[in-house]
Symmetry: C2
Subunit: 341 residues, 2 copies
């Protein structure tokens, strides 16, 4: 339970990473009421300076005593750090908002997208999990459809950017693209195959059932967030040569019939969604337009050609912002809201 204050002591664990840096940016941009901000990372980043509020903040080493006096810690340093340090932070009296997959499916851990299931924060909150990036943008779009028409089935193919694999993947795409055009040899370090000018139907590791972990995250997290274990989710997760923002081609089946124009109305009135759907003007969501923005962009909304309970759409969002940093900061905002404490 968070004590009510005017300003809070916040720590960011993994502050030097792609998501960690954006957590700092978003805390600043959204005017989060900060008493102090502590940037934590591994020993090798200690002393590094990160831009914050027109000045700089020095990175400190993540240690067991790092959480004394911290109210909320935002973790984005990978699963093993979260596994080890989230309980330590909780024992120090701190609430953890964790961006890794480590705690997402744990029974007592709320898995929260503020536009979708803010009420999941009403119970005991020690660790709160931030969902997978490709799940977040999809459930923001699914939620209003579920409320209105009752979603029974989702078939989704993703077009995921390399920034989801971190800074080294961004550099790999850049280097490979340049070398390919210059007819120089390419190096694959982050991905098992060339990502420049190619599509890899492979994100995270493969499981026995033929699906990847990324795909199963979309199945299991969607059900947990929408609190409906009957929703069928069939995902194909694909990495594409895009730097920032994930795109998704989504087919939704519902129990009640839908009309495309009514679904567009629903989307246009839903929190966190920006409807971009004027194909006659070549306007639809694009990864390059969504990058750096916090909304989930939806377009290409159209009814199925034969089924009145099926709709297809295209949804795009910045995987480092709404897919990670912004969602985590929004959760922190909910925690400090008087009515939610």
């Amino acid at each position: 339970m968070l004590s009510r204050k005017e300003k809070y002591n916040i720590a960011v664990v993994g502050a030097t990473g792609a998501v960690g840096r954006r957590m700092l940016e978003i805390l600043e941009k959204r005017g989060f009421p900060l008493d102090s901000l502590t940037a934590l990372a591994s020993a090798r980043s200690v002393g590094q300076k990160l831009p914050f509020m027109g000045s700089e903040i020095e990175v400190k080493e993540l240690q067991e005593d790092s959480f004394k006096g911290i109210d909320i810690a935002l973790f984005s340093a990978g699963s093993s750090i979260s596994k080890n340090y989230a309980p330590i932070a909780v024992n120090s009296g701190c609430i953890v908002i964790d961006n890794s997959s480590e705690w997402r499916m744990a029974k007592d851990v709320p898995l929260v997208v503020p536009e979708v299931n803010p009420f999941a924060l009403s119970g005991k909150c020690e660790i709160i999990a931030n969902p997978n990036c490709s799940t977040i943008q999809m459930v923001v779009a699914l939620k209003p459809l579920h409320d209105q028409y009752s979603v029974s089935r989702v078939i989704v193919s993703t077009y995921q950017s390399v920034s989801g694999s971190g800074q080294k993947a961004i550099e790999e795409l850049e280097n490979q693209s340049r070398n390919f055009i210059d007819e120089e040899p390419l190096e694959n370090n982050v991905y098992p195959h060339q990502i420049a000018f190619n599509c890899l139907p492979h994100i995270d590791s493969f499981l026995e059932n033929g699906y990847t972990k990324e795909e199963m995250k979309m199945v299991n997290e969607t059900r947990k967030i929408l609190d409906d274990s009957t929703i069928e989710v069939s995902p194909t997760a694909v990495r594409v040569p895009v730097f920032y923002s994930h795109s998704e081609s989504v087919t939704v089946e519902t129990k009640l019939p839908m009309k495309a124009h009514m679904v567009k109305d629903v989307f246009s009135q839903s929190p966190g969604i920006c409807l971009v759907d004027n194909p006659e003007k070549n306007q639809y969501p694009l990864a390059i337009d969504a990058s750096g923005k916090e909304e989930v962009f939806v377009g290409r909304v159209r009814g199925d050609l034969t089924r009145e309970n099926v709709i297809h759409f295209w949804v795009v969002s910045d995987n480092l912002l709404k897919g990670a940093a912004s969602n985590a900061v929004q959760i922190a905002e909910l925690l400090i809201k008087p009515q939610s404490i």
Copy 2:
């Protein structure tokens, strides 16, 4: 009706284009029995020399009398050229294999993928249509499933390369990629938006129903080729920053139940298909591997998580070869086979 000969006089219309050049390559590679080869194009390409059979062939201007003495003309010069010149070629006693969309849905025009519906050539053949590239690779994979399990519904999201838009699009992706990395301004000429490091859910023009022409081609051509107007097809066609080969994420529903391992067996024994499906070794079809090859590559075959009559897979093929030139030359091969005349 084609007179049986030992060698044939072939013309390629649009010989200087991306597909036309590959038609020449494939005629040579597959050892098509040629008496003569005539390369035809518009006036501005006249005199241009194209490599052929270790030598060069000079491009002639497409004119009304170009088809005298020609047995088979392969057209790949756009819909308006096909509309005007295919009937002229037919009147000269020539069989036309047309790669444009102009004649595909015409009642008396067979729409042929040799592995799928060779019998469509058994009637009167004057103009024979080559299907859309994204349809061809999909129906090669659907056909054996349709035969075994009876396909009722297909949901497909495409990842289509820029070579489908011609040589200028290839140059646009190359130039934009270089300029983006060098932080120079980008120019959009072929596409309405930046294609480098971006995904465009927009191929061909938009129709009243919210679908694109490309998407509706996949719907209508699939039904015509599989000769089953009840098959439901729900496509989302997306352009990705890849030079060659289209990838597709396909979900298939059938009337009979399937098991993933049996579907893999079916694929591995089907003509024109190369099964690449060892995820534990990071082996699955890739655009960069399919490019320059004539097969359709299928992988990531997996059963649905809840439905026993649903399967998901990933299919990749070179859109300029099996999606265009190779399929056209295969049709020509069928025409000259003794048993098919």
